[in-house]
């Protein structure tokens, strides 16, 4: 291995590649956020036999840009008697965790640039170049959970600091809903820990290599339950329909965002879509095999693995985003007491059961559940 110049113990090439990687991923996430809004309007439009945006650009493709530009020229209003500091801080607290949670997700295998191997994961590096073993945050899953638990502050602060009744009620509802479902989502992930024996996302993905039969969601019955519960609870945690009570237009105007205008309003909007992308990416990583292809070794020539690995990931994530939008077009909104009852009386006991069940299965069937069942 040729090291070239060394800066703080690592070759300079590492830094250049790292900066390039960060920028490319960041721009991709941003574009996905922008075009998720377009895709959602278009999709739901067609599902409801409408056309959706079509005026700005071909197929309305420039619509997100027009929306963004419009918001730049809107006036920023801070309501009288609002707690200014908290009011200004709230959209930032909502948006930043939504963006940076993506940084620990491995979105591909490794690539080789100029003889230097790089992992396709932002918070990962390869210390041992010949073997190409990726070292990442060894509590990656907990990092995501921690950031998810911070998102609640943006909403609670927005609701409280606006000095408006709609905002307060929206913030209140949102905070109780988020913490309730965060619990069930966190406990559902335990099934994954039990199967992988690790909290590192790289190891979780590596353990799911070798085709669809090895993906965690299908390995054993409890894992499948955990997968469904995790996805639903995550939708509730990020306030997606049918759990979007905090922003229920018919009763609360715009919920915690009622008093926000201009770019600060757009930030809550961006946070919602960024959260959706992160949740879909995490679900893919934890349960749907990460960047591994469903049928292994179809194409294993030269550089193809590189294209395949991230393309697999992107296709799976986009499919889940599509499912989110599909759910939004299909289901009506819950009533608040139903929502809380669902979280505490159904999902929480179910996930606790899942934890013990998965534990028992991994203990009694160390060589795989289905194999033991059908042999």
């Amino acid at each position: 291995m040729e090291n070239g110049m060394i800066f703080l113990g690592l070759p300079v090439a590492y830094y250049i590649a790292m900066i390039a990687k960060v920028l490319v991923v960041f721009v991709c996430v941003l574009l996905t956020v922008a075009y998720a809004t377009w895709a959602e309007r278009k999709l739901i439009g067609h599902m409801q036999v409408r056309i959706g945006p079509k005026r700005v650009g071909p197929f309305g493709l420039l619509q997100p840009i027009a929306d963004g530009l419009k918001l730049f020229f809107k006036e920023e209003i801070v309501p009288a008697q609002a707690s200014t500091f908290a009011f200004l801080l709230a959209p930032l607290i909502a948006l930043i965790p939504a963006f940076i949670a993506f940084a620990v997700i491995p979105f591909g295998g490794t690539i080789e640039v100029g003889g230097y191997k790089l992992p396709l994961q932002i918070a990962g590096y390869i210390a041992d170049q010949p073997s190409g073993k990726v070292i990442d945050l060894n509590v990656g899953v907990l990092y995501i959970l921690a950031l998810a638990s911070l998102g609640v502050y943006g909403i609670v602060l927005a609701g409280w600091s606006s000095n408006s009744k709609y905002s307060l009620l929206g913030g209140l509802r949102a905070s109780a809903q988020i913490v309730s479902y965060e619990l069930a989502a966190g406990l559902a992930i335990v099934s994954v820990f039990l199967m992988s024996g690790s909290l590192s996302l790289q190891q979780i993905v590596a353990d799911q290599a070798g085709g669809v039969a090895n993906w965690y969601f299908i390995r054993q019955p409890f894992a499948f339950v955990a997968f469904i519960v995790y996805f639903i609870c995550s939708l509730a945690e990020i306030n997606r329909t049918p759990f979007d009570l905090p922003e229920a237009e018919t009763e609360l105007v715009s919920g915690f965002g009622t008093e926000y205008s201009s770019m600060k309003y757009a930030m809550f909007f961006m946070a919602e879509y960024a959260n959706m992308i992160t949740v879909c990416a995490v679900t893919v990583t934890l349960f749907l095999g990460g960047w591994h292809e469903p049928i292994p070794q179809v194409v294993s020539i030269g550089g193809w693995e590189f294209y395949l690995s991230w393309a697999n990931f992107v296709i799976k994530v986009y499919f889940l985003i599509f499912v989110c939008m599909w759910i939004r077009a299909t289901y009506p909104r819950y009533r608040y007491d139903q929502l809380m009852a669902l979280g505490w009386k159904f999902f929480l006991p179910l996930t606790l059961l899942c934890v013990v069940g998965t534990g028992a299965v991994v203990y009694f069937f160390p060589n795989g559940f289905w194999g033991a069942l059908f042999s």
């Binding site: 113990g9 960041f26 590096y125 307060l168 905070s175 009622t258 008093e259 606790l352 934890v355 028992a360």
Partner: protein, 142 residues
């Protein structure tokens, strides 16, 4: 500095550097967006404009309502079960070294807290909305 992979050369893990960079990129974007909106947006102030929105009616009373008690209960139960989850995480990662004994211990732990959940369910700690209490007492009367 040496490049021995078995020993970390720094106390700060190198995988955190790109993480910090990514956070910085996010912060930079947000700052640019906010500055641009502040620079481009209209700035006309007025007492009516700054009044809180109440569906077009002049605002009445304070917006600082006292939170209903169930919301505290949710926060307290959340802490309790969050701590439980933290303990479960440690077991889930080390279950193969702990074996059967670990499975039995964690099952006991979970059962105790399930009992707590069932108890507070029966006590009505999970009831929501002002109507729930009334509905139940109405059932009892009939």
């Amino acid at each position: 500095m040496s490049m021995n992979p078995a020993q970390p050369t720094t106390t700060l893990p190198p995988e955190l550097l790109p993480l910090a960079l990514y956070t910085m990129a996010a912060l930079l974007l947000i700052t640019v967006l906010l500055m641009a909106a502040w620079w481009l947006g209209a700035k006309k102030r007025g007492a009516v404009k700054e009044a809180p929105y109440e569906s077009g009616v002049a605002p009445t009373g304070s917006a600082r309502l006292a939170y209903p008690v169930p919301f505290y209960l949710v926060a307290i139960f959340f802490i309790v079960f969050d701590v439980e989850a933290a303990f479960i995480f440690t077991w889930a990662v080390a279950w193969d070294a702990l074996g059967m004994a670990g499975l039995i211990h964690i099952s006991f732990f979970i059962v105790v807290l399930m009992l707590g959940l069932v108890w507070l369910w029966r006590k009505g700690g999970l009831e929501w909305g002002p109507s729930a209490e009334g509905r139940r007492s109405a059932y009892k009367k009939s």
